[in-house]
């Protein structure tokens, strides 16, 4: 195959060299190292030696032409060969047209004097900077100016965090949902025994919350009509495939619902881990996708703060919410006699548009049964 002779990189500061003179002609025999042509660089005139021996087959660029380094200018090979066709790719790219760029017209937007930190704060608080009177030097808008504009002057009480404002809006929507609640008192004797067994086995962090999550998931599987969501568009009622369960997590000043994926399909240890992780995410304010999936029912456990029972408010994007009070010994009736029994008060609030009384009752009964007789996964 013919050897391509390329314009060599002999220029110090230039990419283009000018061919002054070909020292050999097409058809001439060429020895390795023999001078082939003379070129002009930015510094000097140089002879270019042949880097292959053979016959000079085709001269592609002539004396007087300026050629970019690397461009094929000739071929050396067997005299019976034809010189290959010159391809378009070997041409040097044309230079971009120069010219003056017209100046940009001045911006019409007036900029308010405020530091980046203040701008970010204004954005977060939904305050329009151009409407704020700046109290800083030269009319600069300061942090306090923005805070005042946002409507919580220091004199009239504490300002409301964005989170609490968002929560307030959600609860407002909850108030529009027609909801009712039903309650049950659950005998937790079996549950307590199960808890002890599982803790000793492989889930030392297992608690009543986990058992409740699991019971809810089992109940959802048994009562698929509870595992549905009201959709305003239509309207429609949407069925959920998975038995994910929500868990209400309280932070210092926050209240978030995270989703535990199908607690009835997790081992006790996995359930504990998921709950821990999801709780940590909620408290950090950064919930992962896995723990943000939609769920039909949420568990809200106030037992740890000594509440016996309470009637929760359903989340506006869900169908039910189960409130759990404290697990405690109370008088119960066993075999006709009054005995101390470990009990738990459950209250289920549901969206009446999705679940009627009977369906809600069946669902709650499932939950109770799981707790009173269930033996874990």
């Amino acid at each position: 195959m013919a050897h391509a002779v390329r314009m060599p990189p002999l220029g110090e500061t230039t990419d283009e060299l000018r061919i002054l003179e070909w020292l050999k002609a097409e058809g001439d025999d060429i020895a390795l190292g023999e001078p082939l042509l003379a070129v002009e660089t930015d510094k000097a005139t140089l002879e270019v030696e042949a880097t292959a021996a053979g016959t000079l087959l085709g001269i592609l660029r002539r004396a007087g032409e300026s050629v970019r380094v690397g461009t094929v200018i000739a071929y050396v090979g067997d005299q019976r060969e034809d010189a290959p066709e010159q391809t378009a790719a070997q041409e040097a790219a044309p230079k971009a047209a120069g010219g003056d760029v017209p100046p940009m017209p001045p911006s019409h937007r007036e900029r308010v004097a405020a530091s980046p930190a203040v701008r970010r704060l204004a954005q977060d608080m939904g305050v329009d900077l151009s409407e704020v009177r700046g109290s800083g030097p030269g009319g600069r808008v300061e942090k306090n100016d923005v805070m005042e504009m946002a409507g919580s002057p220091a004199a009239d009480g504490d300002s409301v965090t964005p989170h609490r404002q968002a929560l307030a809006r959600r609860l407002g929507r909850s108030a529009l949902i027609p909801q009712f609640n039903i309650g049950a008192t659950v005998d937790m004797t079996q549950a307590a025994a199960l808890l002890e067994r599982e803790r000793a086995a492989d889930a030392p962090g297992l608690g009543y919350t986990h058992l409740l999550l699991r019971a809810l998931a089992v109940a959802l599987r048994a009562c698929p009509e509870a595992n549905r969501l009201w959709v305003d568009q239509g309207p429609r009622i949407r069925r959920l495939e998975r038995t994910d369960v929500g868990l209400a997590v309280a932070g210092e000043e926050t209240l978030l619902v995270v989703t535990i994926p199908e607690p009835d399909r997790l081992s006790s240890a996995e359930l504990v881990e998921h709950t821990e992780r999801a709780t940590a995410e909620a408290r950090a304010g950064r919930v992962s996708e896995r723990h943000s999936a939609p769920a039909a029912v949420t568990l809200s456990n106030l037992g740890m703060v000594g509440v016996d029972r309470f009637a929760p408010i359903v989340d506006p994007d869900q169908t039910g919410i189960l409130a759990a009070g404290a697990v405690a010994e109370r008088p119960g009736v066993v075999g006709g006699e009054v005995r101390p029994v470990l009990q738990l008060e459950l209250t289920l609030t549901v969206d009446h548009r999705v679940l009627d009384g009977h369906a809600a009752g069946r669902f709650l009964a499932e939950i109770r049964q799981q707790l009173e007789t269930g033996d874990g996964v």
């Binding site: 391509a4 390329r6 060599p8 990189p9 002999l10 220029g11 110090e12 390795l32 190292g33 660089t41 510094k43 000097a44 005139t45 140089l46 270019v48 030696e49 880097t51 292959a52 380094v69 690397g70």
Partner: protein, 322 residues
């Protein structure tokens, strides 16, 4: 310690090394013209006897520093043609993993520091090598290659003086090829002989015919032995000539073609070849065989370089710091 007149085998070895350097440089030049080797080249044709003769007097455990014109030093000191070629191609398999390039060839495994391309730069660094060998009492020697132009750099004077005063095991080898780039030596020095500068620092010096590899080897052996023996540094001025330009874009308008021809008559490879044939150390066939072997080695080196992987830019930042 080498015998006075080298055996035929040793002479043949000197011949092979010089031929390897010459053909490596020719090969690399064509690859450069073809656009396969990037950057630029500072080549060594004509000076082969200096690198070859000096390195023949050294052990692998001795070290050399080199300059922007290091290809000859590298091959003579033992950098493999594959590693040198791949480095010129800028490949990961190069002796400096493609990070150094033509002007920084080197290989710690064979006692060559990556060449220092700052003129005179090696002249102070070599004193550190000598200092290390002296402190550790290893008997190692360090050789500094530099051109006559470097003897006008402060580093040359500071290095020579410091090495002398500390009696360091260093041999300073000046390759006086008469031109610093385009500038003739007589334009930048009132004193024609570099070796005269040695006396100013209490160092002994010797002028050597740099086109005669046997003479170079002889002088180097003596100097290296003296340095190794704790006698302090010596300066060798090897008078030589580069047949090609300073770099590849040099039209050599500052020299006459007559002068070049005159020096080409003293080609060190031709000279040794004639000597080998005349005194019966080798015959034509043996010399041709050396040539074929060298060509095969170079073919292999080019092949190796062409097929080697490029370095990965993602690894680059890690290389600035240990």
């Amino acid at each position: 310690m080498q015998p006075e007149s080298p055996q035929p085998a040793a002479l043949l070895e000197l011949y092979r090394t010089m031929l390897l350097i010459r053909r490596f440089e020719e090969r690399v030049y064509y690859l450069f013209l073809d656009g396969e080797i990037p950057g630029t080249l500072h080549q060594y044709q004509g000076q082969e006897a200096v690198a070859t003769g000096v390195c023949a007097a050294l052990e692998t455990s001795d070290w050399i520093t080199s300059t922007h014109r290091p290809h000859g030093h590298a091959l003579a000191k033992g950098v493999t043609p594959r590693a040198a070629m791949a480095e010129l191609y800028g490949k990961e398999t190069g002796c400096c993993r493609g990070r150094g390039g033509s002007m920084h060839l080197g290989d710690p495994d064979v006692g060559m520091l990556p060449a220092i391309a700052i003129v005179g730069g090696g002249n102070t660094v070599v004193t550190g090598l000598g200092l290390a060998f002296k402190l550790r009492r290893t008997g190692q020697v360090a050789v500094c290659f530099f051109g006559e132009g470097a003897t006008n750099e402060g580093a040359f004077h500071e290095g020579l003086n410091f090495a002398a005063v500390q009696r360091l095991p260093v041999v300073f080898v000046c390759e006086n090829n008469l031109y610093g780039a385009s500038t003739p030596w007589e334009r930048v020095s009132l004193v024609a002989s570099v070796v005269n500068r040695a006396g100013a620092y209490g160092v002994s010096g010797e002028v050597v015919d740099g086109m005669d590899v046997v003479a170079v080897r002889q002088a180097a052996s003596t100097a290296v032995a003296a340095a190794r023996g704790g006698e302090g540094p010596i300066l060798l001025e090897c008078r030589t000539y580069r047949f090609v330009g300073h770099s590849r874009s040099d039209a050599r308008g500052y020299r006459t073609r007559d002068e070049e021809e005159e020096w080409k008559q003293r080609d060190p490879i031709d000279r040794l070849r004639r000597q080998l044939l005349e005194d019966g150390s080798a015959d034509e066939a043996a010399l041709e065989a050396v040539g074929s072997e060298v060509d095969a080695v170079l073919d292999d080196a080019v092949d190796f370089a062409r097929n080697s992987p490029d370095p990965d830019p993602a690894e680059l930042l890690a290389d600035a710091y240990a």
